[in-house]
Symmetry: C2
Subunit: 326 residues, 2 copies
Amino acid sequence: MNLGMEKPYVVGIDIGGTNTVFGIVDTRGTILSSGAVKTQTYATATEYVDEVCKNLLPLIIAQGGIEKIKGIGIGAPNGNYYSGTIEFAPNLPWKGIIPLAAMFEEKLGIPTALTNDANAAAVGEMTYGAARGMKDFIMITLGTGVGSGIVINGQVVYGHDGFAGELGHVIMRRDNGRVCGCGRHGCLEAYCSATGVARTARELLAARTDSSLLRNIPAESITSKDVYDAAVQGDMLAQEIFNFTGTLLGEALADFVAFSSPEAIVLFGGLAKSGDYIMNPIQKALDANVLTIFKGKTKLLVSELKDSDAAVLGASALAWELKEIK
Amino acid sequence: MNLGMEKPYVVGIDIGGTNTVFGIVDTRGTILSSGAVKTQTYATATEYVDEVCKNLLPLIIAQGGIEKIKGIGIGAPNGNYYSGTIEFAPNLPWKGIIPLAAMFEEKLGIPTALTNDANAAAVGEMTYGAARGMKDFIMITLGTGVGSGIVINGQVVYGHDGFAGELGHVIMRRDNGRVCGCGRHGCLEAYCSATGVARTARELLAARTDSSLLRNIPAESITSKDVYDAAVQGDMLAQEIFNFTGTLLGEALADFVAFSSPEAIVLFGGLAKSGDYIMNPIQKALDANVLTIFKGKTKLLVSELKDSDAAVLGASALAWELKEIK
């Protein structure tokens, strides 16, 4: 890959429901400078883009100006790679279809690509992280929800409409499945997100009588972090919650392997950092459920990108890809 | 696509457990001539390849000789596209890893590609059939088993090891699932293959007492064709079997859409020809289970290739693809 040293930097912008963070990134994945704005403050997308550019431009100038920037990559909820638009994102203040990539291109004169955050994370991992050099892998982001970015033949899978890779919404429980945020029942996300773990904790605590450190916390305010802390202190119930969560996730991963036979599955997010408590049951369930022909072939990895940097790095990596398209 | 008119034909070879069929195919998908040998007759792969070539060569010569043939495509169980080998195919007489593509190349001096039969079917459908012009679709073959060929960005998904696309083996029933031929429980194939339909018939007939035309047939010899014939005659139990089968398949397809957001899902095989009896419940379950963002976007199609021709056409289409690689 010719990274085009005459334009040595890219910009990554990660748009979250609360914060927007952005940074200038070099070819090695070093964030040279960064900034942030509150996403919710701006009633229109135009005001929002103006404000981001106002904060971003000084950073760009400090690195030598627009001509040093190869491109801008944006990770955003409901981002459509093909059109560069955000479409009906429930957690953003701007309704309908917003042509965000075009708005940044127009404002700054820099080619801009946009996709959803999980796809951006996959490109980030392929460019700077645990999936360097891989052409076939699946990124699973375990956060408030469960997202995914699928890479096949070195390309992110966008599907015919730009929205492929919603693996958080495959159905894992067809009977009496939990209600998911998407309105359906039994989705992977309803069990294996951080909120799913907290739900499992509440369900188990209510259904059982054995003692647990988690009983010291008001049920409604239990978080997946609380479950982790209890597990580390040897709490059996907390460890069982991770077993349940990891087993269910491992079963799902076995199905994903049947689809694209990836070289690796890369897990990202708070839950993925719960160490053996979560990784052991995932690996065990993956091994137990995967089709014989795939047994032992797919590596289970944890993201190598720092949590705080990953969103900006992932978004920025999209901009290196841009170059190859143009 | 430049089909290279100086070499206007390709050869398709479909290797089944019982028969091997082959034919010379032109750019429009017309089979100009064809032949067959019994697969099981040949104790070694060398004898087998010799025999196929002995039968194939006169057909090639009749079309103007080796120099008119762009390539050979082979569809075979457990075929690995990357290596051109058949690996541990349970239904073929030759054990271990057989470098079949290389053997044909050596024997005939024609470039040869090989993949499994469902992937070949997908390439056939993309080249000559219902998926012409599509870059993102999923082919599901409903036969003795359930196979799949996944096309993303115009390329068949082979995965990192050459074996991707085993959608017949995603798990649809995690509790008390039927034993599948693969040794696991609850696979899609255990329900939605022709043998799965016959199993459903036997289970329902045993569990219930309502009358059915199927009760006139010894339970162990009921086939999916019998179920279809009964359904056509208005048999309620037979129609219920198709409802059950189609609903389960539609639920699976909804998960596949979440993966690659295909423009279409193309169904192939005897079951797919059971008309509304099977297509209505599939479509209904797909619509009911697909994530909102994908609703109404993915077409449900039936293969446009004639059953008798499809295997050879699919295999032959691989050979046009070959050209693009070289």
